[in-house]
Every structure is written in structure tokens, then in C-alpha cells.
């Protein structure tokens, strides 16, 4: 899976915007949106919010968790715990990137938020690598991926699957006779 596909999925997440135009309810396959009234906040998917923002038709309200204090707390917790801590949104990385790139003027302390989210991401990736290593080391058969987000799984998926495949083959060498039948008709 490509990161841009993950980003595409993330664009379905709802964000609050304050439009500066008025429009009746619009009916889309994904659901009804609106009605839009100037000054009244309304939930729309991220893709629409960004589109309206680029045409300067709205102001985006950052999600609750996108706040320096809350993120600092999360970072501290993430560093303290050995396991993965619950994330505020399954697409926190993608949403942060999209919002900060396209609507950084609507988000207070954008730079600090960018650093904090990146810190949380790095801590989680380091943990993911650590757990992948112990997974391989102890030759476990299954692992729990609680609280991991799609983007995080996606960065390591190809590598981890290839190594597990490889390790499985080496392990099947251990049982003699398991695949020896193929030699006789060589």
C-alpha cells in the first residue's frame, strides 16, 4: 500500500469548519453535508474542508486533540509506557500533515504541534521496531497490534512480511521430510 492511499482513506475523517457562505444541504453518496451557514460550525470530511479552505470559503477548526498541552501529555505517556498508547485519531499523522500544510493559519502554534506529532510518531516507530525484533527473536506465531495506526503498519509491512516469510522457510527446514518429497522427482 502506498502512503498516498492511506492519506486518501484519512481524508474521509470528519473535521469541523466554519464556512463563510451559505448553501443548502448537499446530498452525496457518502452522506448528506450541511446546511452551510456563515459563522455556524459544521462537520465535513477532510477532503471537502481542504478544498473549501483552498478557495478561502471557510475556516477550519482544529480537532480537540490537536493542542499543544494534550499532545505533550500524550508524548510523555507514550515515552513512559512500553506498550502502544491509544492515539486520538486513527489517522493522526495524516490529518496533522494535511491540516498543517494547507491550513496552518487556522491552527494555533502550528510549528509546535508539528514537532510534537513527529516526536510521538518517532517514539511509536521505535517501539514498533523493538517489538518486531522481539517477535522475530522469540519466534512467536502471532502478535497483537493494539492501537497501531494504518500508516505505522504500512511503513514496516513490506519488510516485516518478507522477513517472516523468510523465517518460516528457514524454520520448515528444521522438520526433515516436510518437503523432501520434491527431491525424488528431480
Amino acid at each position: 500500500m502506498d502512503p498516498s492511499e492511506v492519506e486518501f482513506l484519512a481524508e474521509k475523517e470528519l473535521v469541523k469548519i466554519i464556512p463563510n457562505f451559505s448553501l443548502d444541504k448537499i446530498f452525496l453518496i457518502g452522506g448528506d453535508l450541511g446546511p452551510f451557514n456563515p459563522g455556524l460550525s459544521v462537520d465535513v470530511p477532510l477532503w471537502l474542508a481542504l478544498n473549501l479552505k483552498q478557495r478561502q470559503k471557510c475556516r477550519i477548526l482544529p480537532p480537540d486533540w490537536m493542542d499543544v498541552e494534550k499532545l505533550e501529555e500524550m508524548r510523555a505517556l507514550e515515552r513512559k509506557e512500553d506498550a502502544f498508547t491509544p492515539v486520538p485519531s486513527l489517522y493522526y499523522m495524516e490529518i496533522t500533515k494535511l491540516l498543517l500544510n494547507h491550513a496552518s493559519d487556522n491552527i494555533p502554534k502550528a510549528d509546535e504541534i508539528r514537532t510534537l506529532v513527529k516526536d510521538i510518531w518517532d517514539t511509536r516507530i521505535a517501539k514498533l521496531r523493538l517489538s518486531a525484533d522481539s517477535f522475530i527473536n522469540q519466534q512467536e506465531a502471532h502478535a497483537q497490534l493494539d492501537n497501531l495506526t494504518l500508516m505505522e503498519i504500512n511503513t514496516t509491512r513490506e519488510f516485516l512480511l518478507d522477513s517472516l516469510n523468510f523465517m518460516f522457510k528457514l524454520r520448515s527446514n528444521l522438520q526433515p521430510g516436510s518437503s523432501k518429497g520434491q527431491l525424488t522427482d528431480y
Binding site: P3, I136, Q139, S163, P176, S179
Partner: protein, 211 residues
């Protein structure tokens, strides 16, 4: 989006081989020390060290893996296969002591592949070899993972030079994940680029004109 105009067949690893995998074809040319258990008449030209017409019983020579696999039979002893020195007891202890310090590229470069293929020839040490292969891989896993997921935008030749060919493939897939994430983060993923198919198509056309 990653577009490749050519998808190579991956190596089979383990006991089986993939017929169309280039890596497995190269692997089948690795030489194994063998000892003949019966005489091979008129095949003296294979053994360059003597001018004899036949290969007598008990000659020690090196044969490629594909030939030894074909000639080897459990019931009728045609030849017995000796272990290459990397899979012998002495080296196995080195691998178990610290798998990270060994230069598998120099030892192999098909250390895992050849090691698994050797299990075809019934040797009393088979289970030890299989165990050593697995433990070597597990011991080296962390290093392969860390180097492949951290080396961004730098020369990786120093990192891969000591890796086995299979570990190199792993390294590449790790780099793939890292690079595609980084290019997304920098915003390059949203730029449109020409498909590699189109680029190759143009190249081919030019070649047609020249001939």
C-alpha cells in the same frame, strides 16, 4: 505509486527452488566438495587435475550444486557430498557466538539458500545446520532492520556489503517502505510523474529508429 516494469521472480529459499528465479539459478552453480563412490567411465575430462580417461572411485572433486543434486541418491551411492567449510562445526560455532560480525557476502553470497539446499544430502549434521541457519538469521535481523529503516538519502553500499543476497532483498523492501513514507511526508507523493511504462516505451521507439 510504485510502478515497476519488471517483476523478478523471487528465490524459493529453503528446500525448493524457483525455476525462473535468477538468484536460484546462480545458487545452483555454487560448487560443493564431493567424493565419488563409484567410477565414472569416460568422464575424465570433467576432472582437470588428471589426464585419465575415467574418474576413478574415491576421487575428491568439486561439482556444482545442480549436478551433485542430480547424481545424489540415497539408495545407490554414486557420490557423497562433503559440507562446505562455512557449514561445518567450526564455523557454526562462530555464527552462534555472534552472527553480526560475519561477512555473509564473502561466505555466500547465498549462505541461507545453499545451506537449505545442502539439507537434501543426508548428513548427520543436518538438523544442526538448519538450526544454525535459523539462529543466524534471527541474530542478524535487528541489524538488517535498523540499517534499512534508518538509512535515508545516504550511501547504503557500506551497509549492504556484508549481507547475504536474501538479506539484501529484505534490506531493499525496508528501504522501499522508508522511502515511500518519506516522500509522502515531504509532499512528493502528490506530484504526478510519468509512468515508467511510458518512459520505457519512448526509449524503445528511439532504438527502433536507430536500427
Amino acid at each position: 505509486m510504485s510502478t515497476q516494469s519488471y517483476f523478478p521472480v523471487p528465490p524459493g529459499v529453503g528446500m525448493e527452488e524457483n525455476f525462473l528465479s535468477l538468484d536460484d539459478i546462480l545458487l545452483s552453480h555454487e560448487r560443493l566438495p564431493v567424493r565419488t563412490e563409484c567410477s565414472f567411465p569416460r568422464l575424465g575430462f570433467l576432472e582437470r587435475s588428471s589426464d585419465a580417461h575415467d574418474i576413478p572411485e574415491g576421487t575428491k572433486m568439486e561439482l556444482p550444486l545442480w549436478l551433485s543434486k542430480g547424481l545424489y541418491e540415497r539408495k545407490r551411492k554414486v557420490l557423497s557430498v562433503d559440507l562446505p567449510k562455512v557449514y561445518k562445526e567450526g564455523w557454526r560455532t562462530v555464527f552462534t557466538a555472534d552472527p553480526c560480525v560475519v561477512d555473509l557476502h564473502k561466505m555466500g553470497p547465498y549462505y541461507y539458500g545453499l545451506g537449505s539446499q545442502i539439507l537434501h544430502f543426508d548428513s548427520p549434521e543436518n538438523s544442526d545446520i538448519a538450526q544454525a541457519l535459523l539462529q543466524t538469521f534471527i541474530g542478524r535481523f535487528r541489524r538488517t532492520m535498523d540499517s534499512s529503516q534508518n538509512a535515508y538519502n545516504e550511501d547504503t553500499s557500506a551497509l549492504v556489503e556484508r549481507l547475504d543476497s536474501l538479506e539484501k532483498a529484505l534490506f531493499r523492501s525496508g528501504q522501499n517502505g522508508l522511502n515511500s513514507f518519506q516522500s509522502w511526508e515531504k509532499g512528493q507523493a502528490s506530484q504526478l510523474t510519468a509512468s515508467s511504462l511510458v518512459l520505457n516505451y519512448r526509449k524503445r521507439k528511439l532504438a527502433d529508429v536507430q536500427t
